[in-house]
Every structure is written in C-alpha cells, then in structure tokens.
Subunit: 318 residues, 3 copies
C-alpha cells in the first residue's frame, strides 16, 4: 500500500501554519513527487473569513479577507509542473460546525448557494489548468444527520456539471472512540458508534450520493487500532455495493498524544496502511504531507517519518 495523494491544509483551522512562501511549496511538491504522491487535495478554499485565493464571491458574500497570495494559482501551477492532479476543496463558512440549527434556519441553503457561486467562479478562473482534476466536498461528516445526503449530492452534481464530469471526493470520519474535539485534552471517550450503526447509516448515505460522489476516503484515526480492520472492511464492502471508490485517508498525525497534533509514529502509520490493504483498499490519501511527513516540516519528526516511509517503499515488505 502506497500513499498516492495528500491533502493540502490550506486554510487550516487547527494546525499551526508553517508560513511557507512559493519556494517552500515548490520544494514540498518535489518531496511529495519523490515519495510517490501524484495527487493533492486542497482541504478547503476558505474557512470563515479566511481564503486561499481572492474570491470575489467570498469577499462579497462572506466579507472574507483579501489573502496575501493566490494559493490556488500556485498549487495548480506546481501540480502541472510536477505532473500531479489537483482537487479543489469547497468553501466552509464554519456554520456547519458551529450552528446547531444549520439544517433548518437557512444556513444550509446559504452554504450550498455560496458554494455553487464559488464553483462557477473557480472553474472560470482556474479550469483551464491541465492539473485541475477534481473536487473535494469539504464538509466532513460521520453520521446520516440533517440533510448531509442532499448537500453532498447537490454539490457533487454541481461540480460535475460545471466541470464536464470531473470526479468528486469526500473524506468522512468514523464516529469512534477517538472522535472528540481537538479543543479538549482527552484523546478518547468511553464508547464510539457500533459497527452495526455505522454500517446502516452509511448504507443510507451511499445510496443517496451514488452518482454525485466518486471517491470516499474515510479518515482512519477515530477508532482504536484493533477496531480499524472491521470498520475499513465495512466501508469497502459498502463502497463496492454502491459503485464508489473506497480509499483510506491515513492520517499522519498522532491522535493519542497530549500535544494536538504532532507527526504519528511510523509503526502506527505502517499498521494502518497494512490493515487497509488487508481488506482490499488500494488507494491511500493522507492528512497531510506538509506538516506531518515533509522533510522541511517545522516538526522534525515528520522528516524522519518521510525517511522511514521511503525505506519501506524501497523494501520488499510493502
């Protein structure tokens, strides 16, 4: 099992920024390429009032701040330069996470409408780049709550319609024992969702989003290591049943530590990748290379993780 894709954590909301300029990003794409990564996914183009490119839609509708640099343009150029695919992550107003009446007070409709306008704007502005290869729906979810199915299917279809059918990715999480806020000191809770409930809720979701979403990459860090195989197997079977590609989003940060978050131990990453392979999953994306796996990361553990992973690729064991 190889990691062939990574998220780009811009705009970040919980991982401190590295303050890289164009030169550092260029070098990082080179590091990715040399490790076999051929696809990058912008985690979101904007979050609340911060944005990755000067979107006229978001400045007008959300009073977003003027960004100091156009990261979307930069990432697309670097993707083209290094022969990689770029997936564009939609806007996240923050209301989805913070407003408990999101689904019923008009916020949901507003989130969709703004995102449709952003999709139009982005495709007009950047669609000519040969590396523009797909879309990422940035609203993460773990349960069949609210109108999540309608939101994914509406936005996914609109992305496809505008872009001539480019593929759409989502990356949900399992509502497991480690599904807790990063703004607590705990690292786990007493119980998570049962495998049965997870299965039945995701069966409903997949039924509703087939045709609108192409790739589902569940985050692999919210359940205990000894529960992971069962959940990944279920995810794979459900994806196969509904014609979705099942990837694993193999997190490269460690959820078990008081410091939230530093790079994961190589042994844990290796175990998770091997569990995914054992249930028939063929593709891994990671969240994310630049903080947690890059030789130039501010977290020096990341560079060592990169070396361990490269050694693994060169060995006969992967």
């Amino acid at each position: 099992m190889r990691i062939t894709a990574t998220f780009l954590d811009e705009i970040s909301h919980d991982i401190p920024h590295q303050n890289w300029g164009a030169d550092e990003w260029d070098l990082d794409f080179r590091f990715m390429k040399e490790a076999g990564i051929g696809m990058v996914v912008l985690i979101r183009c904007g979050y609340r009032r911060w944005q990755t490119f000067p979107s006229q839609v978001l400045i007008r509708e959300e009073k977003c701040y003027q960004p100091p640099v156009d990261l979307v343009e930069l990432f697309l150029r670097l993707s083209t330069k290094y022969g990689m695919k770029f997936y564009f992550g939609l806007y996240d107003s923050g209301r989805y996470w913070e407003d408990k009446d999101f689904w019923t007070n008009g916020s949901y409709e507003r989130e969709v409408a703004i995102n449709k306008a952003v999709i139009d704007e982005v495709w007009n502005k950047y669609g000519h780049h040969s590396s523009f290869a797909g879309w990422y729906l940035s609203q993460e979810c773990s349960r069949n709550n609210g109108k999540i199915v309608e939101m994914f299917s509406t936005l996914g279809l609109y992305c496809k319609q505008v872009s001539g059918g480019l593929p759409v990715l989502i990356s949900p999480y399992i509502d497991g024992k480690k599904s807790i806020s990063q703004y607590t000191t705990q690292t786990s809770r007493d119980s998570g969702i049962s495998l049965e409930d997870h299965t039945s809720e995701w069966e409903q979701i997949f039924k509703g989003i087939q045709g609108s979403v192409d790739i589902v990459a569940f985050q692999d860090g919210h359940v205990e290591y000894d529960e992971l195989a069962a959940f990944l197997a279920t995810n794979k079977q459900l994806c196969d049943k509904y014609g979705l590609q099942c990837w694993t989003n193999s997190e490269t940060f460690d959820r078990d530590m008081p410091i939230k978050f530093l790079p994961i131990k190589w042994e844990k990453l290796k175990l998770k990748l091997e569990i995914a392979a054992s249930v028939g999953i063929e593709n891994a994306i990671t969240f994310e290379f630049s903080h947690f796996m890059s030789p130039q990361s501010a977290y020096l553990q990341a560079g060592h993780l990169y070396n361990r992973y490269r050694e693994y690729l060169e060995s006969d064991n992967h």
Copy 2:
C-alpha cells in the same frame, strides 16, 4: 506599519524556554536589528522565585533563586552593541494573578514596595548603560479593577523620578472573546467586553495614569479579527485625548490553535498590522520576536514568518 520593538520573554511563565546562551542572544539581536527592531522590552525581571539578574532585593524579600546568568547585563550590553533601546520590566510576584484578595490584604502594598526597591537597585546597578531607555510595568490588566490606576501611577512616577524621567510603557489586553486562560483547551468564549464598557473603563484608567505612563500598547490578540478595528480606533482616540502614545502590541503567536502557543500565520499578522495602521497607530511592538519570529527559533514556523515579514518590508505594500 513596521514592528519596531519586541518584548524579551524572560522570565517566561507559559512559553517553554529555548535555553539560549550568550551567543544565541547576540545573534538574535542581530536578526532583530536587520528586521528594523530598535527597542527591546524585558517582559519582567522576575516572576515568583525566578529572576533575570541576581537581585539582592528579590533574594532577600522573595527568596528568589540565584540565576545562572545575569540576563539584564547581557541584554543591556547587546542593546548598546546594536544601537537599540532597552526597557526594564518590573518584578511580578505572581500574587497579582493568583490572590483574589490582592488589593485588600496587603499584597498590593507589598508588590509596590518590593518593586520600588527593585527600581532603586536596578537603576544603581545598570543605569549607567547608555541603552537603558525606559521602564515597563509588567502587571497586565484589562479592566479598571482594584487599585490598578494607583499601582500604575505610583510605579510609573517612581520609575521616572529615579531615572530622570525615562518613559514608561504598559501593555494591557482587551477583555474580549479570546481572553481566556492559556491553561484551558478552549480558544474563545461566547462573549467579551462590549466596546462601550471597554471605552468607559479605559477612559477612567487613562485619566488616572496620564503623566505617569507614556506609552500604551494594547495586546491585539484577545478579540476576533473583525472586531479589532473598532477596539484599536477607540484605544487610539482615548490615548490622544489623554496625551498617551498609542502603540499596538501585535502578537506573533496564534491564539486560535489547540497547541498553545506556536507562531502566527503571516496573513493574520499582516492583517492586524494593517488594521492598526488604518486607525492611525504608528508604532508596533510584538510579543515576541525570539520564540515566534526569529530565524533561530525552536519553532521553525518562526523563521518562515521572519522571511515573509522581511519580504513585506521590501515590497511596496507596507
């Protein structure tokens, strides 16, 4: 808007120490100078039983530990060497923060008396340095509580009296949504002080400290980014009314992250500096260069922030 001054975070109480020796401090002053910083402010000369220089007063009165090096002497020499101004931060016993009866049980009077003795000692010992340029009252405040006006005016006047009128700096904080303990995992609370209450309380404080304090540099990290302009405008107007210099203390660490604290994203710092400039503020100090903005910081994000800031200075946009 340029950052022309920085705090020196010694004695630190919540930011892990970098364990620098004289060589690293010399290099850091050079990095500061090259980025246009001409003034350094010792955040406090002592905190509880830790101190920056071997104060006979603090050893006797507060049983402070013997420090391994005289940082005040070192910082003054480096300030002279690099043509920078040094401001001396007063002693903080910790009681101001921890003792809820501080104002009424004699602790306040003791804090003032010890600090007067420290001021005498320090001026006798270090006043001959040409770089000794001012004083910093290390008791931070956000509201017109207790005898804060009396404390600032008493200590400020005493500093001036002893030193032939050297200027006195304070750096309060706004009691905003992000005014929460660093010893919680939260990064904000539901509500902060209203602009009206902030204005009326600070009008009272400024009325009481004019003539005793020369520079007021509010910390800029305790309100949301979209509230900052209104609060800074008020601060500027009040300072002008009472003849105080209004600076901004533009924090270079990020208050929005689960890890407390790592360097801020350049985009956020740039936005805060530009907001300050937009309301007529002309000087910025930062807390603080050596951890969060230095090319040799243990946090590598800081070096990249330094590079982004230097690029900004060299561009036409600042």
Copy 3:
C-alpha cells in the same frame, strides 16, 4: 552532580515519537556518551499492544502488534558499542493505570505472570549481551496502594533469580502538587501529599521491597521547587535506612507549561540537580535524553539544553 543515566522512551505513551532509525539511535548514544551518560533504561518493553521487540509471549498473551524493528537488540548492541549499561523495562498492559479493580479482579496476577514469562523470554534471547546490566520495573507508583509492595518484590526477585542477581531499578513519583494527568490543561493542583504521609508510606514500601529492588530514583517534577529539598532528603534517609541506593530522576521536560511537554529550562534542571546533591544524592538519571536533551531532538530547545549542560560540566561549578 552529573546525569549518568537516561531512560529510553520506548514504547512511549504520551510523548510524540521521533521516528528515528538505526542511524539516529547510534548518533544519540554517542551524544549521551559524550555528555557522561553510561547507562540507559528502556522505560518499558511494551505498552498495551505495542512492543519494542517481537515478543512471542506478548503476541500470544496480549495480541501485541508485530513491531517493525527489534529495538531491544538495537539498544543492546549500541550499549555494547559505546560501553554503556542497558536496563530492560518490563511490560505494562495499561490495566495498572486504567482498571480501578486491578488489584482485586485478577489483573494484578495476570500482569505478574505475563511479566515473568517476558523476563524468561528476554533473558534467554538477550541475556548473552555483555551490556545487559539490570532490570527496570515499569509500574510507577507514588503511594502504598494495593499490592504494590508485593508486585515490586515478586518481580524484582524474579528478575534477579533469572539473571544471576542483576540489579533492579524503580522510579516512583511523589504525589505532590504537580501530580496531575498529562491529559488536563492544568499544571498543578491545590495540594499534594504531606511530607509526613509520604515518609510513612514509603517507609512501609521500602521495608517490603528491600532485597528485591536495588535502586530507587524518584521523579523530581511533581512538587514545587521550594518543596523539593525536603522530599529528596526524606527519600535519601529512607533509602539509607533500608539499604537501597537513592538516585534522583531529574526530569528534563517542563511540567509548568501549557504545552505538554517540551524541554525544561536549564536553570530549573540545574537547580534540581543541585538540590539533589545538597541532600547527599550521588546519582542522577533523567527522563529523558533523546526528546529533551539531545542535539538531534525534534525539539530544538533540547540541543541548547545539551550545550548549557556541557558548559556546566566543563565549568568549576558542578
């Protein structure tokens, strides 16, 4: 006072991993040796389902994961190469910490039985290494609770019996003001154990473990700095009375900071070492060199701490 020993934090449970390979570990042993460290102690050979070597006992009994590398073999070889002593830390199932009925529901007996089998396995597999010099009982304690005396004496005696009398080390902690979970944001609590209670409980423990345990190295970070001398003096007197070697475990991480955990300020480490020396303690181990004091640590503060410590060794003051 010199630091002559360090723990090796494998398997770590709360300090993020550095992802070092064999080359980095070799270099780290060299750094240790150059700083006067002649003994390394594996903090635990396994924790829950993670392990440092491919133990057939732990794979069978605890369903432990196959580790990617045999760290015990690596550490023993490096110890031999650099002329250092290696102490082997026993297995920790996690139940000791997490199961409140550990002493009464059979878990205690199981923990002892598994560890006896691990001791046999390890001695058979690695006992031929000339650097295999002792054992570490990895169950930390602070009070005379449950069957802690019986556990220490049983396991300590078994280690000695199997290995021809090699010495046994424990490293308890003082139940002081800073004895709080690393999974909270607080750094201290209102009160800790009294010196009297500490003394009487440890008198009972020492009485029970004499002959089974050789070295007691109390962790020095759980009491306030101004309480440390009294507790260390008591520890020393009790050890002398019961024929145990009294060392100090001088922690090189800082317990006073919101980030848990980064390297300690040199001034604090120096103070703690000098307090230990002042009560007659002659040996210091640290937790631990590789994260908090190594020139190649991911925490760059650690390299500066190493330099400050080396300067101290070369001065006349230690």
